[in-house]
């Protein structure tokens, strides 16, 4: 079975996002509208140019995506809702890229948004996204606990220290400070000691090692490469190269109740399929984005995405290879920890930052000469997607 897609003749026409944060005074439809308009402006297009749209979110009622699209105009275009938990945005991106690559659309839009401030009170997290049956059994256990379980086992197996986790978190906080669309923008350099000294949530994770709740919206417009070249002469061209998407395969030790972390093999296998589809390897990637909702994940994904051998992620951290000036900078917009994690739009924020990096427009955090970007997310622990983008001249 071939799960990796290779995109042919597709380019990024435009990207846009509203800065993530707690924005209770701003209606969700306005957040979505503003992200959509920013991307249309970046693409020098109107909705009349868009043949198809994919909309996504995880916290809102059904059909809100259609309402959000109406804020941009009513042109009769086909609109499809996408929902894949935290990976929603990247899967909407994948579908939009495939719509163009397959030839059924000249221009396709991915628009995602979410509003966690609407979830405050009245049920809150315990009800959010959880159904009956096994989810009720698992409701007393917080998401931070799931990832802490993984972190504790890592420390037992590999001798990883809380300092390793804190170093990654500090790196992401400090990237967030220089990213204008990030939620957490520290006014001082965050240190390992500060991260370790913040309140403990679930051993060994502290509050500064966990992502915040967020509101936000982001949009990516993809189009036929020749169309983008003719409409945007003189601009660096960014192309989606390949995408892979997987759900879990069964293995002994699978926890059917509480599947938020998922098996580590899922990221490794999905990455391999994406690299194969693109004809590239991890050595070709210059900047990477991953699911760092809880900081120990980022350490694991260094290994599972192939940037170092199994068990050598700690060394990568000690050498500073995933931060400014390192061999493979990760989460240069602050990642889920600092840029924020509203849910639906998170993946499109990764694409937004990937495009800025590949265009050379990531002021204050630019990876010199970046030509290949990788974006990875897991969703509900039960699916994984890996995507590759390239700058071509």
């Amino acid at each position: 079975m071939r799960r990796g897609l290779r995109f042919e003749g597709v380019a990024v026409a435009g990207v846009g996002m509203v800065p993530f944060g707690m924005l209770p005074e701003r209606p969700i439809l306005h957040l979505a509208r503003d992200a959509g308009l920013l991307a249309l402006h970046d693409a020098e297009m109107t909705l009349a140019d868009v043949d198809e749209a994919f909309v996504g979110y995880i916290q809102l009622a059904s059909m809100v995506g259609i309402k959000a699209m109406k804020e941009l105009g009513l042109t009769g275009l086909p609109v499809t809702h996408i929902e894949n938990a935290s990976a929603t945005g990247l899967v909407a991106f994948r579908e939009a890229a495939w719509a163009v690559s397959s030839g059924r659309a000249d221009v396709a839009m991915a628009l995602c948004f979410d509003k966690f401030t609407d979830m405050a009170g009245g049920g809150g997290r315990a009800g959010g996204g959880r159904g009956g049956g096994r989810d009720v059994i698992d409701a007393p256990i917080l998401p931070a606990s799931y990832f802490a379980l993984w972190a504790q086992r890592r420390m037992h197996d590999r001798g990883t220290k809380p300092e390793h986790f804190a170093a990654i978190a500090a790196k992401n906080w400090n990237y967030g400070a220089v990213c204008p669309t990030a939620h957490r923008r520290s006014d001082h350099t965050v240190t390992v000691d500060e991260v370790l000294g913040s309140r403990i949530v679930a051993e060994p994770l502290t509050t500064m090692m966990c992502c915040p709740a967020d509101d936000g919206a982001a949009c990516v417009i993809l189009a036929r490469e020749d169309l983008v070249r003719s409409r945007q002469p003189g601009r660096a061209l960014v192309r989606p190269l390949a995408s892979a998407l997987q759900s879990e395969t069964y293995a002994r030790g699978h926890t059917f109740v509480g599947p938020v972390v998922g098996p580590s093999t899922m990221t490794r296998d999905t990455a391999r399929e994406c690299y194969e589809a693109a004809g590239l390897g991890p050595e070709d990637v210059n900047v990477a984005f991953c699911h760092d909702a809880f900081v120990n994940e980022e350490l694991e994904y260094y290994e599972l995405l192939g940037f170092c051998a199994e068990g050598e992620g700690d060394k990568l951290v000690e050498e500073g290879q995933t931060g400014p000036g390192g061999r493979i900078p990760f989460n240069t917009d602050g990642g889920l920890i600092a840029r924020g994690h509203p849910g639906g739009p998170t993946g499109l924020a990764q694409i937004h930052e990937s495009v800025l990096q590949l265009r050379g427009d990531a002021d204050g955090r630019q990876v010199d000469g970046a030509r290949i970007a990788l974006a990875h997310l897991v969703g509900g622990g039960s699916i994984c997607t890996v995507n590759l983008l390239e700058r071509t001249d």
Binding site: G133, R134, I137, I141, S145, A202, Y250, G253, T255, F256
Partner: protein
């Protein structure tokens, strides 16, 4: 006053309060894989028609954490936190569960046994209960 499972179909509460609860699992008659919770189709070989089995009341701790927040829904907000773990049962399933004990009471690989935890009371005064695991008796007795 009765003890009512938080959700039907996952564990059985024995009439004798001294008896531990039993997790309800499935065994595939074709490949022999055992699952928790119960399921119809084998996740490994896709055979239709798994058989009901009761699972072990003891297991080995694969990993654990201690969550520094009151247990959701618990009336007693003074409780500083609670343990969470993944427990490997002898038949194969790995079960995620609340753990009984303090932050210094757990180590990977230790033997645990199953018990009941009261989450809250309903309007009729019945106790809504969930299964949990705690270090096996020999740890408390200083034998281990």
């Amino acid at each position: 006053m009765a003890r009512i499972p938080i959700e039907e179909g996952f564990f059985r509460i024995p009439d004798d309060p001294a008896e531990p609860p039993r997790l309800l699992g499935s065994r595939c008659p074709s490949c022999g894989e055992v699952f928790f919770p119960r399921r119809l189709v084998c996740a490994k070989c896709l055979h239709e028609g798994c058989e009901d089995v009761d699972l072990s009341t003891r297991g080995r701790l694969w990993t654990w954490t201690y969550c520094h927040a009151p247990l959701f829904g618990k009336k007693d907000a003074d409780v500083p936190g609670y343990g969470v773990g993944q427990v490997d049962l002898a038949e194969g399933p790995r079960v995620q569960s609340i753990l009984l004990g303090g932050p210094d009471d757990f180590e990977i690989g230790m033997e645990l046994e199953i018990d009941l935890e009261t989450l809250r009371e309903n309007e009729d005064g019945d106790e809504i209960v969930i299964y949990r695991f705690r270090p096996a008796a020999e740890y408390f007795n200083g034998v281990a």
